[in-house]
Symmetry: C2
Subunit: 448 residues, 2 copies
């Protein structure tokens, strides 16, 4: 079960300066209805992610089973959309201490930080490790850099058997990894060409690692399917959670000056869900001078760090809380504690956590800060599947509101090209000249 | 060594719409000079954190040594300013895999998430564990909730010996923990009353855990001292790094509409440094409708998540990059790799990391996004000490710019009071009525 409570974004609760009038929301009815029809038609094209819940996961499950039976370590090499989804699923659904108790142990190489590389390598035995290299283009610098070291090491240590330790997840036809897979007979899974990185968690990009670490990917797809069904049937703003999230954020941003969208789960296992959301929201909508900056906070920790700013700082935020009703464990505060703290007795940690959330919300209402609460009865595959699809569709729908293409990321190329130039790649000589022209270190302070 | 390069916030590089004119910076000369004098005088009062680098750490080192010799596990129970600094120091200076290799293993209970509590408890043996309870007021709900369970369990399992497993870090005179320490003979360290939570990392709050996990706290204090000396001598904006950081951010915020301050280290060990900074910046300056929202990004990961937004989204950001010149390890891309990726050969992971940073900066300059780069020759105690003091002083100085008190957090109380009311604490009956008046769930969507 998931519940979206948007009472506290409404003007009747927090006033018209910061809140949304019901009439204002409903005035988008016609726009929503038209957009709804467009989205249904686009499901074979730009909104292809909407087809993913209906796939047959059997081939992925078979590959995962093979890995689970043959390896003690599973290392995902990928960055951005190629790893944020897998990290999110693992953290949300396996929780803490997984690597202390289960195999295959799961690690991610999602950066070129050499100390992180060292740390992962130190934790694995390479002859018992399956490496999953994930890049749609087949050429992502960080991923290929990590891969090239692993590839060399595997060949050196295991000779011809190196192939058995590699699985690529990449474009079905294009790119370096696909070519290498074909040439050398390395197993490779397909990323549907119509699905971009940040919408790819329900392709083999996210589903293979998830299945390897024991997540029930059928239930995950079921949850996504349920959300697709609801959102395909309901075109009324007040019944369609994806359109509602998109619209409340859009109005808050463009009409109330809220250029920051905070997501604040009160459950640490959802920490990486926020990272996944941050990519989706920022990279999809940050275009043409528009877009909202997603910000991460964790309850209750950031009550002691960010709430002062949220309450008394600029009126530039809309906040989404995520509440969880049931945890796998809970702990009761004992009765036999000193008098001064006796008001805690009988409560459990979960009670306190969720009462702190309520208390924080009440304080924000007093300060007229718009906030939405999404409640999950528990963190499980089905609910996370719903949440993934909910935010993907809300993002896609927001593209129509902002009148931008939410599925491209044109501004990312420039930095890559300068990096290629700095690395001396052929064909980038002009870019290197441009860099030298642009980049100076003129004003600085140095302290020994 | 640290170097602050602020070339790319200047109008001559990114234009006057987004950049700062040198004259504009220098026009604050008189203000800076006056404020400089005030700060020197306030070092015995509000700016008391400035005295901390000069303390004698011997008592802390002795306590830490006792813990290192007698315990296999060290659990810090604290939240916000009572844990962010310790987590930051541990992560920055011990790096990855510490708990796999060293004792005492280090865990933090900084939330009332019951699954996190379970996860920490599962990893320790309580009879070999020292618990450090850190709360200045002695009554922080989350901390006391976790403590009360631990206290009960220790008494039950170890009888009278429970005391030896507890160390409190709290106010020298006031509050529940101090009272309990006095009554039951539990060891307690003092937090100087003039130092608030988010400025307390160089008190026993941060220094005891740091010393327990093997961090050289003398070098840490030396770094902070060096920064204090530089900043006490240099009142010229262009030579005082703290005033420079404060002023560039202030002008960017108040005169160029940059209400978001991104910090983006290209070194994963500095991830928690950003969390520490986020509390400092947000809670200190988020007042009177003013303040800047700190946002976290990690290079290169977030190039694949946030850079699209930073380049082509709203012109609402100033970015601080942190570069590290030397890592403990590095890895060379092999020569014998396929032709398609041969441009990588000969480079190391560190080279690629820092060239990606340069490439990203060049792309941001083209988009006229103001950015500062702080370079550390390496991540060590001395440099982190400098960084801590640099940001504490920049924050304190910013209080004068914004004309707010950077050392209080009045807006945090309200949520706490509602939480007490919801927990049925005596004396909060009126607050409970107020809650019922404020809080409704009227508009919602539920999906099974």
């Amino acid at each position: 079960m998931i519940k979206i409570d948007y009472t506290n974004v409404m003007a009747e609760v927090i006033g018209e300066r910061d809140g949304i009038l019901r009439e204002e929301l409903l005035s988008f009815r016609h726009f929503v209805s038209e957009t709804h029809q467009r989205i249904q038609k686009e499901k074979e094209r730009k909104f292809y992610f909407a087809k993913l819940p209906y796939q047959d996961p059997t081939p992925i499950l078979e590959t995962a089973q093979h890995i689970r039976e043959n390896f003690d370590y599973f290392v995902l090499i990928g960055i951005g959309g190629s790893s944020l989804g897998s990290i999110m699923l693992h953290e949300a659904l396996n929780g803490f201490n997984y690597n202390n108790k289960k195999v295959p142990k799961f690690y991610v190489l999602d950066n070129v930080d050499p100390e992180k590389f060292e740390a992962v390598m130190e934790n694995i035995e390479i002859e018992k490790t399956c490496f999953n290299i994930v890049t749609k283009s087949g050429s992502t610098v960080e991923t290929i850099a990590n891969f090239s070291i692993v590839y060399d090491t595997l060949k050196e240590r295991l000779g011809d058997k190196y192939k058995e330790h590699l699985i690529f997840t990449t474009d079905p036809e294009k790119g370096f990894l696909r070519k290498l897979a074909n040439e050398e007979g390395i197993k490779a899974l397909d990323i549907p060409p119509l699905v971009g990185g940040r919408f790819s968690v329900l392709t083999p990009v996210g589903l293979l690692p998830a299945a390897v670490v024991g997540i029930n990917i059928k239930d995950l797809l079921e949850g996504a399917k349920k959300m697709d069904l609801i959102c395909s049937i309901e075109e009324h703003i007040e019944h369609n959670p994806a359109y509602l999230i998109a619209l409340t954020h859009y109005i808050a941003n463009m009409r109330r000056g809220k250029n920051i969208a905070v997501m604040m789960p009160y459950a640490e296992r959802l920490s990486s869900f926020v990272d996944w959301y941050k990519q989706l929201w920022a990279e999809s909508l940050g275009k043409d001078g528009l877009g909202q900056t997603p910000a991460k906070a964790i309850g209750t920790i950031d009550q002691h760090s960010q709430i002062q700013l949220y309450r008394e700082g600029p009126r530039d935020k809309i906040i989404t809380f995520i509440q969880v009703n049931n945890f796998k464990h809970d702990f009761k505060i004992p009765d036999d504690i000193p008098e001064d703290i006796h008001y805690l007795s009988g409560h459990t940690l979960k009670d306190i956590l969720n009462k702190e959330l309520l208390g924080t919300k009440a304080a924000l209402i007093k300060s007229k800060v718009p906030n939405i609460t999404i409640t999950l009865d528990e963190i499980n595959e089905y609910n996370i599947g719903m949440m993934i699809y909910l935010y993907e569709l809300a993002t896609g729908f927001s593209g129509y509101l902002y009148k931008i293409n939410p599925f491209d990321q044109p501004a990312v190329e420039e930095g890559k090209n300068f990096t290629y130039a700095l690395m001396g790649r052929k064909g980038y000589e002009a870019k290197l000249e441009e860099f030298k022209e642009l980049y100076k270190e003129k004003y600085k302070i140095e302290i020994q």
